[in-house]
Symmetry: D3
Subunit: 326 residues, 6 copies
């Protein structure tokens, strides 16, 4: 991939206009209030594969619409006192995978709460999922999740997902082994987009780890990249041509730019300059709107894999430092 | 595409074992009975583009689960007496498109009732759709429709679709311009699979036009083709490896082989020998099980486009002859 | 496909210089005069598939060089008085297909005269053709039609095609069911390019429907798109490097920019902003040169499929309005 | 490419039935007689780039239909007495290229007469061509040469090419520097197919060098390979479905199997076992029918590149030995 | 990917002939003896990222030719007594990646010793490597490692790698935290091939975990798959055609079939039936030759990803059972 | 390929900054001095295939590190007096091929000395090679040659290659049939890059023929093209992210910009404007820095094939003129 977006110097100052509906906050307040009327009913079932130094639980809780959402919860065995907890949201297409995919944080001394993205995990052979999306779509959709319910903010797929993510924080905060004042949201790509939204929507979040976030700056993304999943939108718009403004109106309730503008906690972002899945200008657009203390790691030669394991280590160091550890 | 399936001589005699659950008929009886508890409430709204010699209606009716299903209904203007009616079911990914996509049958003197396949039509720029699938999926799914609800026959996507198709026949049969004794089901690929199922499920069907049918002989299909949409199943099975038998059990309620074995009316099939989407052995497998009078057109040099416009003309001639017309 | 050409605001004002040979009009006058020395000998053979409300004829006439050109001629059955007639020219690679591919206009109350593009229709399984191009090429050519005879305007393939198109109008105008004062030329892509040229070359043309036209603004096209068929030119130029100026001189007699500049009748254009086959600047280049009354439909999210069925309905409305009907 | 055709042991014995029209020889006799009514008018224009030890001529002569055919003629400078001459026919898509592409034979002590394949050489940037095909096609065709005129043996493209090739031998045999009793035909792929035909059609040919020949065993080729150019036939047959038997009848006049069965002179063949352009069974099918003394070089790991430069050296050795040289 | 290899029933009994040089054992004895003359000089440098419940070391030791080989060594913190140790060998193209990629085994109570494959890890952005291959290749090679030194067993790349792997076992066995009687070799693809070889070459190995092994049954692999890395061999053989027998002779010293036939310890294999990188017959070929107690997990719907995380859990259970733990 | 780099007018003036290490000349002086301590030991073995008018030798000599380098040496037979000699360096991936691939220069009256690029020629079936690279790489590398030893200028692959190229000139200059005052270096792509370097490094070079040179202006190349081999660098940098500056420092010793700035002899360059392998700005960057008399041939419609045979003829004319011949 050659460089194809703005030069780095311009990216650093790129602050795009945001398209924000007047009732953005009201929409989300109502959505979350409605979801919280369901009993959270978090369950933690011990996992049957014996591990030696980590405790693993198959977790489930009630998300949007009363639907059960699955995940993993891992703790370093024998930890003293409540632990900081990393909420881990998952990239597009993947399920929760296996507990052993999530050993980094417990090995580093943190709890990790992995939340599945409903409906994903059915076609990623490395990351199988367990959670369906029992809600359908009032409109015909492009294959994938991007256009499910896109003609109405109330029906849109990511309304359910972001709500699930907030409820997951509720669940983690209530777990006795977790220090509710040290909950961190994180993820890459779709997971980064969810983390970005959750940081804005849940007051208990203490920090955010946002890697190459998806679901951000939709209008620019669909104009400058030919790659999925943003192209799901283009395929839909090229088909249901009469709905473009309606669709963009829906998206304005879910655009990472608007969540970033509500970000008040410390955030560690990452961006890759050759990323044609989540182009760098869409990432910097959000980062530059973020209101809290912030840092960004720039990976000049990488595509959407972004910082990968390098970034994971950056994150461990970042949290160690933030929480005064090690 | 080279030839890759059995030689034509073997195809002509290929009669595979069928995997049929004991309660196959009970399952469908219960499903249809439940659907018929909803008021059909067929509506025919005149279409606003003035045509000179055809009457066009934007049709909707209540399908599975009380959901509204859209379509088109076209009649040759000024026809005398009730007309034979062709039910037209649509291929994978397409919506109903435009009325002018469906002028063949009214021009040939027939009514045509075009039914949308719920949820499709969101990413086919030539065939936009209007009908969503408000029901979701209890399991994570591969993008597309093949694995939506696949872990339970009651939840499976095509249960809703086949039920919609039966209800569409109910609607057509009740229309005053239609001769309910001359209803014909037809379609290509997914549309052929739906037609095949509907011919078995609705006693009013008088004949079937089944082109290169999809949704037929699943187990062989997934072993011999690398092409979508059958590969949606493989991607799911490669991910949710623990569910293979459960998934195939669900599919046994929807397999075209089992519907074909219940086919009693005259049928005109078509098959393409270089078809790697719906391989010829899966088509002949159904055709050879069909119990009614039957003919099959073999296209030796074609892939999944099958007979295309040639086959459409074959079908007009076939129905003209069947109904003693022209 | 991301956006890759000029922004829409610039496109609206884009008026490129035209490269027009001094004897452009003389070239075409002589060409047409020569062609008209052949007896047109239009024949209309009734088609054997019985239709109920449309009359279908297998039409042929003498085009350039005395060669017979095939097509379809369809009329709404029982129409009163001479009808307006749409000349339908076909896109690259396609033949005339089947009569039922052309039912839109007769259903809307118009005659339609479908002309085959000589030599095409041999490798488009949905649109078979019947007309060869008995004339060869004095130069070696790239596969396809773009470089056939490209080293001499008199030998160039599209000289024959545009002449055929003019003679087709002669044929339609002479048909007793056609109102010769209401002949409209139309088509998409190559068909749009032919319509554009024919509108300039035949005084009887009353209006033009030009969708995503090909054969227009060659020099820019070959510099900004890597897609066929424009790339046929690049492959030729990369091989016969010594002939570039000679080839571009030939093309200047066939460039849609020069025909558009002679366009005096009402025209409805369409353009797609993500079209990499016929890039939007090449379309706007012609549209902005068009001298008659004009409108353009802009499809922001589409590639070369352009407006598809949406545009067809636009065209029906446009002609209904132009001819004061419905 | 994996192995995909018959195993080598079966290939060695593979002797397919030939489909030969009763008037095969009469067809070719008449064709050649007609062509020989045109004055051959071979011209040899010295090439303007000075070479030190080879004489280069831009050659042209009258081929089928009175059309001028171009080529190169190269001689080792200062050779004593008439030389054996290799007729070099060119692969699909290529023109004659440059004189320096053909230095092997003069450097080895032979004359070489390079004949262009009419119409090719317009889109191969390494091998530009100079010769057009002024004859067109009575039928619509697939892009490329395989289906030009395919509905009538008299109109078929390769009738013109094979005739040109025979006339090229006439020209070489008449050149004072050539020993007419030592003319060898050779080529790879299409060039191999032409050489094979010419060896059967011209009595003066003394030996044949046939590498991975194309235009041989059409019916099997179209069934087992998905690669061009054989797929040009499949695209045509998938479109003009009504013409399959007519097309195969035409091809029977041009099938290498039938020419091979008339091969009486010594022949050196080559075949590549991973060749999906000209599959090994089509090559062995011809080789096994060849009636003269014969050898075949088997390249087990190669695709259609076949023996490449290795085979060229084999050929030099083969001719040196045949002619008792070096 | 459809099924393309032998049916499962045949695979279970597939026992191909082995091509084993007479001096196979002598070759390896001499190779290992020579390597052991270098001081092993294993170094364990504590890793600078603080982990909470695992100890991480950047390990290096002297492998073949005195070259330093890098890896990771991880131990569950605070373990009692010497631990069983899993030697983890890496798949083609990958480096050692990050310590957090290898947390499974320490979390399950085992030590893990990750050995880099020299020279890999330069183009796998998720798994960077640190170890070069300071030895070159006496022959020209295809890009990649498969043909480096292939013309001489002593020069062949995998001679160095397998020797490194044996020396890594030497290093692990000597570590005070490791129970030298419970060393297990494991890996997937190339890692599986290395494990298979090491199990045969090092008497201290107690068990083997061999997933979809590469470097096994070369001659069949190159005939039935078109996928890399086996295709590196085909590209080389298609180029250096004169060397095929020499190359296969070299490969016979490295073929997994020959190592499997020397496998005496318990082994857990896995195979994927749609694997076109390491086709199932090549895996079963080795498995069926394995002489020790053995089990094989068959993944019917997977390609080369094989069992993935499912298989990892199988392996934990397998070792827990083997060592009577948990 | 569309145009994607700067417009031609800007290219003609494009003079990028050069990143040149202070010890550039010292580095190369020391490297060459060290190499010249090895005995050159050039050997010329007559080739066994008898040619009539050219003498062919299998040449070898001692290059960098004492390694033997192979090539061909061809002379027009019976030439009078010492001849000018063209050093021919080969493009990426190719070996020396066959003597008959190199007949142009001897046919034109020049000696040609073909030098293999060590290690290449193992996967180019048309151009097999004979020379390995017995030196390895201290760092892990991306497949291919671009990153072999890239972390240290002394270890970098092209240090060995450029040194071999200088020593090849030493060998040619010492051959009795060669006029040491008329040695010309030439090549395309990688060969052009080697020629460019050798012209700067060897005082005996009299002229340079540099076609679409590779290994030039690395930093721009990796930012504007997605094509190999420059992408080998990107893959490495995306993996070994910590090494970017170290890698670019190494590359600065090998960048064609720096060699071009030392070019004092007459040079004939070529560039292709649609070249995405060696983009035109990288070529013009070097050309514009070249200090000697210079010409450049611009191929506007070509990709990396550049001028091909056209350019070869240009070169013959250029040298004929330079040396006052013909």
């Amino acid at each position: 991939m050659p460089l194809f977006d703005l030069p780095l110097e311009e990216l650093r100052g790129y602050l795009p206009d945001r398209d924000e509906p007047a009732d953005f906050d009201a929409f989300w307040s109502a959505t979350l209030a409605e979801a919280r009327e369901f009993d959270l009913a978090a369950e933690y079932v011990p996992y049957d594969l014996p591990y030696a130094n980590v405790d693993v639980f198959d977790v489930s809780f009630t998300g949007w619409g009363g639907h059960r959402i699955n995940g993993w919860f891992l703790l370093p065995r024998g930890a003293q006192g409540p632990l900081p907890c990393v909420m881990h949201y998952i990239g597009y297409g993947g399920g929760r995978g296996f507990p052993h995919d999530h050993l980094l944080w417990p090995s580093a001394g943190y709890a990790v709460f992995v939340m599945e993205t409903r409906g994903h995990g059915g076609a990623n052979n490395g990351r199988p999922g367990a959670t369906g999306d029992p809600h359908g779509s009032a409109n015909p959709q492009a294959p994938g999740m991007m256009t499910r319910g896109i003609l109405d903010p109330s029906d849109y797929y990511y309304r359910r997902v972001f709500t699930d993510a907030v409820r997951a924080v509720d669940a983690a905060a209530a777990h006795p082994a977790v220090d509710a004042s040290r909950i961190v949201v994180g993820g890459a790509s779709q997971g980064g987009g969810i983390a970005q939204a959750t940081a804005a929507l849940h007051p208990a979040v203490r920090a955010a780890l946002v890697d190459v976030p998806f679901l951000t700056h939709f209008r620019r993304a669909v104009e400058i990249t030919a790659s999925d999943p943003y192209q799901e939108l283009v395929r839909f718009l090229s088909t249901r041509r009469d709905t473009a403004e309606q669709a963009f109106r829906t998206l304005s309730y879910f655009d990472g730019l608007n969540f970033a503008a509500r970000g008040r906690v410390p955030a560690l972002y990452s961006v890759a300059l050759m990323d044609d899945i989540c182009p760098p200008s869409t990432v910097f657009g959000a980062y530059n709107h973020w209101q809290g203390p912030k840092e960004i790691t720039v990976w000049p030669w990488n595509n959407h894999e972004g910082g990968g394991g390098y970034q994971s280590e950056e994150q461990v160091r970042y949290l160690h430092k933030l929480f005064g550890e090690s």
